[in-house]
């Protein structure tokens, strides 16, 4: 604990109440408090710090130290709107101060110009709600740069010929190359691709109070014990607290946005750590609860005045869910890579960012070389198909393969399909008695074609690289998501979007949303950088509105 942190009484009307302390909520907390506003951030999970983080895989992965717990917060799943959903762990997100940025891989790609205007370029795609963004890459570029410099991103400007324009180089050089990166780079170059050092939100050089990456390897899925991963926790949350105007309130589970009879938000009702319901009053509310929980909170906040949920006059709250498409190929090599050391990704390429339309596939993606596994995850999920599951041969495979395996991860776009959505389950409740999150999802034929195509390219790369053996995870329609994009999309038209380009909901003038739900398209598989750039931009817009008196309480 540092020096006296500010705390507000729930009855005290603060300027901004932010729901969620993750990638977006953390940035907004920092920016708004730095701009002089009094801010409370409600985080449903605990306030863990570096000393609470551990390499204990069971505690982290199986006991959900950092993520939502499916036993207390069950989710349900169905493929189509006609089916009855069943209980299934279909949604995983960070549930601690810092949100999913605490455990994420830290791949940190900007979106490219095309992501904002692709609908205009490729035309209508039947069966989808594919549209352009109301803003352009150029609008976000200063904020992308701000993210890189403020939180610390490692990378090499200009290394990829496909990169969009940038106003400044990265603040620090790329992380070291790994064996998987060298193998991937050599084979990709042979095939005519343009591999480059992956931009990562992990420090390659120390910053005040934070170590450079020590290459411990427990990165994806884990909290960083040395503060090298540029999470919301290790960066903006601390900056927000230093202003003396921002209270981070953990173990506070928001479940209703309170409104008055004029239809304005007056605060947020949440369960405290003893399951007592409390109301924190605020002049304005900013929901950054992630693309699953933000629409759920709006739907839970239905009133007689807003019977379909708050800010839902468009009927689009929770819809157009885009989880990004993904495929993973594995290769085993002759010599040890020891790729468990380091971090996840050191090399990648963007040659498939915009696929040739002659292929008949919309969208595109990026491929990266990685080892995103730790010992138990490896033993339970990454041995070649057909390997005996127990006995001498199982042990032999563990012994030979752990140090010699790498993965190529194919990340791709998702099309926005209206039926792919989050809604409230009509029957299943969580441990607080609230309706469970229900996910309805089926990959579009196009998205499946895209991941299959990328998977084939990944297998070719492993072949050219001389892998002793190679395989890929079966490609099937996804039933589990960690990216929840597009579920409260931004747009100018109140009938076809939930928030305006200032992140203000069309229906409630003092209610703002900013997180993965704001995205209009899905990018190519790495949304966090864009979510944070949007959050910096949203903070500027909201501050301007407040300063010109457009947010009266």
């Amino acid at each position: 604990m540092s020096q006296a942190k500010v705390s507000y009484r729930p009855s005290e009307e603060v300027d901004f109440l932010i729901v969620g302390s993750g990638a977006a909520g953390g940035v907004l907390a920092k920016e708004l408090s730095a701009n002089g506003f009094r801010v409370v951030v409600l985080e449903q999970g605990p306030y863990l710090t570096e000393t609470d983080f551990t390499h204990d895989e069971i505690k982290v992965s199986n006991q959900h130290l950092l993520t939502n717990n499916p036993h207390t917060q069950p989710t349900t799943f169905r493929k189509t709107l006609e089916e009855k959903a069943h209980i299934q762990h279909s949604v995983m997100y960070g549930r601690c101060v810092g949100g999913s940025s605490v455990h994420f891989t830290a791949n940190f790609w900007r979106f490219h110009e095309i992501d904002f205007i692709e609908r205009s370029k490729v035309g209508e795609i039947p069966g989808t709600g594919f549209v352009d963004w109301p803003i352009r890459y150029a609008d976000l570029e200063p904020y992308y740069t701000k993210v890189e410099w403020e939180i610390g991103v490692s990378g090499l400007a200009g290394a990829s010929p496909f990169d969009p324009p940038r106003s400044k180089p990265y603040p620090m050089p790329p992380l070291p190359v790994k064996g998987s990166g060298v193998i991937f780079e050599r084979a990709s170059r042979k095939l005519g691709y343009h591999p480059f050092p992956a931009p990562m939100a992990i420090l390659s050089q120390p910053r005040p109070g934070r170590s450079a990456c020590v290459n411990c390897g427990f990165c994806l899925g884990f909290g960083c014990e040395v503060g090298a991963k540029s999470t919301a926790l290790s960066t903006v949350i601390r900056m927000a607290e230093k202003t003396g105007r921002c209270e981070i309130r953990p173990n506070s589970y928001a479940h209703k946005i309170a409104t008055d009879k004029t239809g304005r938000a007056t605060g947020v009702v949440y369960f405290d750590d003893k399951k007592n319901a409390r109301l924190q009053r605020a002049k304005a509310v900013v929901v950054c609860a992630n693309g699953a929980e933000t629409p759920r909170l709006l739907l839970l906040s239905a009133t007689n005045q807003f019977p379909n949920g708050l800010a839902n006059s468009s009927g689009l709250v929770g819809k157009y869910l885009m989880p990004n498409s993904a495929a993973i190929a594995y290769g085993v090599f002759e010599e040890p890579l020891n790729d468990y050391k380091g971090f996840a990704v050191s090399r990648m390429f963007h040659d498939f960012y915009e696929l040739d339309q002659k292929l008949g596939i919309y969208g595109g993606g990026g491929l990266d070389a990685r080892f995103g596994l730790t010992p138990i995850g490896f033993a339970t999920g990454a041995l070649p198909p057909g390997t005996p599951r127990w006995g001498t041969d199982f042990k032999k495979a563990l012994h030979e393969n752990y140090t010699r395996t790498m993965q190529i991860f194919c990340h791709g776009s998702s099309l926005p399909v209206e039926s792919n959505s989050f809604s409230l389950d009509p029957e299943v409740k969580d441990a607080w008695g609230l309706p469970a999150l229900r996910m309805t999802y089926q990959d579009s034929a196009n998205d499946l074609k895209l991941v299959n195509w990328m998977k084939d390219r990944a297998m070719e790369i492993l072949d050219v690289a001389g892998a002793k053996s190679k395989w890929h995870q079966p490609i099937a329609s996804q039933q589990f998501a960690v990216h929840f994009l597009g579920t409260c999309r931004m747009g100018k038209d109140p009938q076809s979007s939930v928030i305006n380009p200032d992140h203000r909901t069309h229906d409630v003038p003092n209610l703002f949303l900013c997180d993965g739900s704001s995205l209009v398209t899905s990018g190519r598989g790495q949304p966090t950088m864009t979510i944070q750039a949007l959050a910096y931009r949203a903070a500027d817009r909201i501050t301007a509105l407040a300063k010109k008196g457009d947010l009266p309480s």
Binding site: E185, F333, I376, W390, K395
Partner: protein
Amino acid sequence: MVAAAQHAHQAAASKQSFEVLTPDQAKEVEAIAARIIPTDELPGATEAGVVYFIDRALKTFASDALPLYQTGLVAVNRAAAQMFPGVKSFSVATPEQQDKILTEGFAGEWPELGPLGNGTRTYVPDFCQTVWLHTVWGFLVDPEGGGNRDFAGWKVIGHDPAHSFSPPFGYYDKDYPGWQPFPAETGKK
């Protein structure tokens, strides 16, 4: 210590008590784990102290699985006696016999048991899969998590327990000359 060297698991069992497993149950769990990850020139589940990890797990975060163990351990001994007359329990069978019993267990071929105390049915493969998973956990978890004694599991897979590393990390990156830019004419679309 001489005894420990000769009969590692028995010696260990005598100097460390169990929290929820009876000594007889522990003997069977240890024997099953030892076939899932056998000991050869490299340590196996026994040397990693997997049975102690499982015992502690059944008392704490995996307490839900205790009824499954209790009925499953009866089932494994019954299957042993049925398959090999005169063999009273899994742990006294020969390794070859044990592998045959386990093969049938994973395939769900053991005689079905009655309902668990909590009313749910015992499915033999659930028991085998659960012991399998707990064995892998106990073998490979960071010792902070209560298993992988003396880093036995990490020795087998080649995971260095240090908390920080410097490049080069392995064979393929040791002669890497550094990233080279692409010729200027390559690029956009």
